[in-house]
Assembly symmetry: C2
Homo-oligomer: 351 residues x 2
């Protein structure tokens, strides 16, 4: 068994046991979590529940070629995003992230340096959310990298998808469609952009775009960052129902309405759209409204609240409409009513 | 969106949303778990902790072509085993399984019938262990089926790997090597054996074996079952340290010793080996001792206990040796001492 200091090239050369030792040491160096009795290194992680709080558990998988493409994403970014996606689910229940379990399914010929970057991303993100890596599983994969994470959190009071009532106001916590627009930019660029180094990377998109307009870092950077390294939003106080936007505003809003057995009316003019996206989308030949409604991977919170009872004063959110008895309606800028369609990302059928 | 009653052929035809509805309905029909406040259908599962108990969380991934081969394993069996593997980890901490989260990463062209069988296996096994499906994630896979499960359990008192002391006795809860021997039989047979129908399937292994001996169902059936549908063992009372045998007795025993900073001496003549395995192994050209020490996937519990203080009277386990101050030793049938090597399954390097 080789020591980790010899820096072997691939996972096959390193072996599972040495990798486990390395992960255990690395995870142990990054923060502690109150209540964690036993972390990595036994058959299961052990923890105590915070007094009087409800426990939450969620899991999300990300597969190479489906959820991420290493031709324009770094492994650091993949690790960071895997954590954010799970943290977003915990926040969407009104909770706080606490412990993460990681299932790493990697090809034997994968370079150790890549795995090391991946863990840097995972651990940096966990630190951001105040959570720790408490366990998981490492196995070989036949083809491509497949990542699974489950996250355990807790909440004083959980917020379900099913609590919306007619008359409630509908809010989102940030601009919509940026992530999808960033993904389009990355696909055109076809190479990774190192957001994690905090540098303004070269990003002059002059080819492959519809109009001959040069998109500089000031416009493209924030959009790409929203896709590569999303930051999950902490929940507001007083929400009556909540969901995080992972598959697109329209599909996730309709999910919330179905669970609550209500309808909704939103207003196109109230949808928050960033200046960056408003500028970049036409250059790419994309319609900002379509990106905002169906782009997906926004990882913003979408919630409802009784009028006047929503969130703290300093909480940043945009009102986009109201809950009704039935029907899913979007009111256009000219006041025309359209049916809100479930456009958004659906696995197996979307391409 | 097609209804589930139209029984579409593939996941692509069915779509993610219909599949989710189907899973939610199916999971809801199979048992309830005290303390589960919110199951499938929200951003995260919500549950309360049993009063005074410590919570446990574990996860395991299984990838097609690495952990299972659909040319000799049914999807029902894969589902059943995925649950057993996780339940075994919870039992190995002295706990009881409660909630499971499933990450299903499946190719779009996978048949719905296969997914349906897989869920039957998952839900039957969860029922066996008194646990319920509380959430998870469904995504498309680029190639092959990748499954992840995380399980949450609880224990009045957790048993770590690190509690063994010199003088403690060492026990295993069942025969060793059966699962590995069953896997060899399946590879020779090259087709699935339907254990789940409770039938004595045709199983005459007359070709591809070393000696011209016919292995009938009576011998082969129990071995194959141990590999395809292992049943995790409930923990004993009073164990000082415990681990489940997933990668082989030798490797897992050494893991326990390293965590406890102790040595061990086990006796070849005390290792429980089934009559089936003793009969089948030579026919396959395999050494029973090697299978018992390094075969892996036994999912028996390996534990230590102070002399005279171990488990209840009715608890079935075999004493195989004792904990020492240092060194990993196996005493042969003739009394000769050999060093116990970490033979067993290691990901990335084995295979």
């Amino acid at each position: 068994m080789k020591g980790i200091n010899s820096r072997p090239g691939t996972l096959r050369e390193l072996g599972e046991l040495s990798l486990l030792d390395w992960i255990r040491k690395k995870a142990g160096q990054t923060g502690r979590q109150k209540g964690l009795l036993l972390g990595i290194g036994d058959d299961a992680a052990a923890f105590s529940a915070p007094a009087g709080e409800t426990l939450l558990a969620t899991s999300d998988a990300m597969a190479e070629g489906v959820h991420f493409d290493l031709s324009y994403t770094t492994l650091y970014q993949v690790g960071f995003k895997l954590v954010s996606v799970n943290a977003s689910d915990i926040y969407a229940m009104g909770g706080a992230p606490r412990y993460a379990l990681l299932d790493l399914c990697a090809p034997s010929d994968m370079e150790f340096d890549g795995i090391s970057s991946f863990f840097d991303g995972v651990l940096d993100a966990l630190k951001h959310y105040g959570a720790v890596l408490a366990g998981g599983d490492i196995t070989a994969s036949r083809s491509g990298l497949v990542l699974g994470m489950s996250m355990i959190g807790s909440a004083k009071k959980i917020v379900k998808r099913s609590g919306a009532k007619p008359g409630d106001e509908v809010f989102v916590t940030g601009c919509l469609g940026d992530s999808a627009c960033g993904l389009w930019l990355l696909k055109k660029l076809g190479r990774p952009v190192l957001m994690e180094e905090g540098k303004k990377a070269a990003f002059d998109l002059t080819h492959g775009v519809k109009k001959k307009v040069r998109l500089g870092w000031e416009t493209a950077g924030p959009l790409v960052k929203r896709h590569l390294m999303p930051i999950a939003k902490k929940p507001p106080k007083g929400a009556s129902a909540m969901i995080d936007i992972s598959d697109g505003l329209a599909i996730d809003l309709i999910r919330l309405c179905k669970e609550s057995r209500v309808g909704v009316k939103i207003y196109e003019e109230l949808l928050p759209v960033s200046g960056h996206m408003g500028k970049a989308a036409p250059v790419l030949g994309l319609a900002p409204l379509r990106l905002a409604l169906g782009g997906g991977e926004d990882y913003e919170l979408l919630y409802t609240a009784r009028p006047g009872q929503h969130h703290g004063k300093k909480y940043k959110a945009w009102r986009i409409g109201e809950i009704t008895r039935a029907g899913y309606i979007i009111s256009g800028r000219g006041g025309e009513m359209k049916e809100l369609k479930t456009e958004g990302y659906e696995h197996f059928t979307s391409g």
